[in-house]
Symmetry: C2
Subunit: 293 residues, 2 copies
């Protein structure tokens, strides 16, 4: 096992002039070894660069976005690093869903801190992403610690929105593709929260609401409402839209709470990485405007 705070490089490929790299490290939050991918643009004149954290969806690893989204071109153009973590703790000793379903356990960490057995010892993706991983990245790469944004897809869109809303001073901007807008109101979220946090959306409402973007928007301060730039893209041909994603709840609450955000339906697009690839240029440009010095 890697010793703490050391990084083991797994691979490095030149991509659009920058470097697409993959690393392995021992995580203290998750009690296991974790992989992450990082793109570092070239020609930075030895200066630090801003960074976008990308959170992937159910079943993904740190590699899906790296291989499928084509984001390196735009990260290189705007001089921004992109960090892609894995979507759950990993390893033979890590608890998984006994039914091996795709929406609980490995590949389905939901970007929260589990409080129930058997998940409690490892499933702390929230702490990993908010504290451990940025500290590790900032220590080992030339990153501008003051310029950090966050984005993600589906479960990762939920992760990006909730993490940014809970830590508005850490992030310059947040965007999401096809986010799970209200986990307390959909089957994916109910399964994850009842297992990782326990109870249900009534008897354990306060704990569940901590991981629900719609509920966090209701609790956001006026300062956050007026200062957190949010961009959301949702395909209108997405098979998960009505049952799992519920974009309409995000639109309703943002109007009711007077929280300006740019939520766009994209005609004909589905839930796949073909959708992400088609609009990642606009998302990186959006973040770049808030990541400038």
């Amino acid at each position: 096992m890697s010793s703490k705070n050391t990084l083991e490089k797994i691979s490095e490929n030149v991509s659009f002039g920058g470097k697409q790299m993959r690393y392995r490290h021992a995580s203290s939050s998750l009690n296991c070894e974790m992989n992450f991918s990082i793109f570092i643009p070239s020609d930075t004149n030895n200066n630090t660069v801003p960074v976008i954290y990308w959170l992937s969806g159910l079943t993904c690893t740190d590699e899906n976005f790296v291989i499928k989204a084509g984001a390196q071109k735009y990260a290189q153009e705007h001089g921004i690093a992109i960090v892609c973590p894995d979507t759950s703790p990993r390893g033979d000793n890590i608890p998984d869903d006994p039914d091996k379903s795709y929406d609980l356990g490995l590949g389905a960490g939901f970007y929260l801190n589990a409080t129930k057995k058997p998940w409690i010892d490892n499933y702390h993706m929230y702490d990993y992403l908010v504290e451990e991983l940025p500290a590790l990245i900032n220590k080992n790469f030339k990153i501008n610690e003051e310029k950090m944004s966050i984005s993600g897809h589906s479960m990762g869109g939920h992760g990006a929105l909730t993490i940014a809303l809970k830590n508005p001073d850490l992030y310059s901007s947040v965007s999401a593709f096809s986010p799970i807008c209200s986990p307390i109101n959909c089957p994916w979220g109910e399964k994850a929260l009842s297992n990782y946090i326990g109870g249900n959306s009534i008897d354990n409402f306060e704990d569940w609401a901590e991981y629900d973007a719609v509920e966090l928007i209701k609790k956001s301060s006026e300062h956050v409402k007026s200062s957190m730039p949010i961009l959301v893209d949702q395909g209108d041909a997405d098979n998960f839209l009505n049952e799992q994603l519920k974009t309409e709840l995000l639109i309703s609450v943002s109007k009711k709470e007077n929280f300006p955000m740019n939520i766009r339906y994209q005609e004909g697009y589905d839930h796949s990485y073909f959708f992400i690839a088609s609009f990642i240029e606009e998302h990186i440009k959006f973040h770049s405007e808030y990541l400038k010095d």
Copy 2:
């Protein structure tokens, strides 16, 4: 099994405004069912569009390029269709290398017509690509039959170069990433040709030379030399460059035979799809200049 000349749609995703689709059909050249992928740009005003055939490398299917190269953006911008065939016949009844190596049998058709057992009944990727597949594509999609170009990577770069050189009137232009420039002079090529065609590069030279870009250049007519646009990109950090790809042989023969072609070494790039993604924009732009009406 699909009946002859019918296409079964496997999937369709909107991508950069166009449609990325995957189909299955019964192939008479290969005596098996085959998948192919096709991107059709939108807003063609019901007109036909030119087409680029993309040939992938060892171990790939029709999907690798579709998922990893990011070509749809540029195909949409230039109004060009892209067809991606598989890299060999497929199926439980198709002969494979008894050693299950990656460089012979399934996933390693080498874009030739096999003449030896057990390959002879199925391994006719050359006929499939030159005759059967274009006829099927032109019958089922709104393609300009007069405007066809070809490109590929590694084994597929070999395929693109040799197929275009043997059929110069069929193709408007040809390009390759990291092509196997001279199969008769490298281990991958020697293994493929000795199995599929038989003999060795001395006793069966004439037959082997039919599938070797360097040898085909020597035999090309003055008309072909003066009229076939060729672009080749090769990463200088490619682990296969010296033993398998031998770009220097292509440079030498093109100079000696006075066959102008644009062969470029790209600094720091390796053999991966990160290399292809970084330069596919330039390749599609190159082809678009020769595919205009």
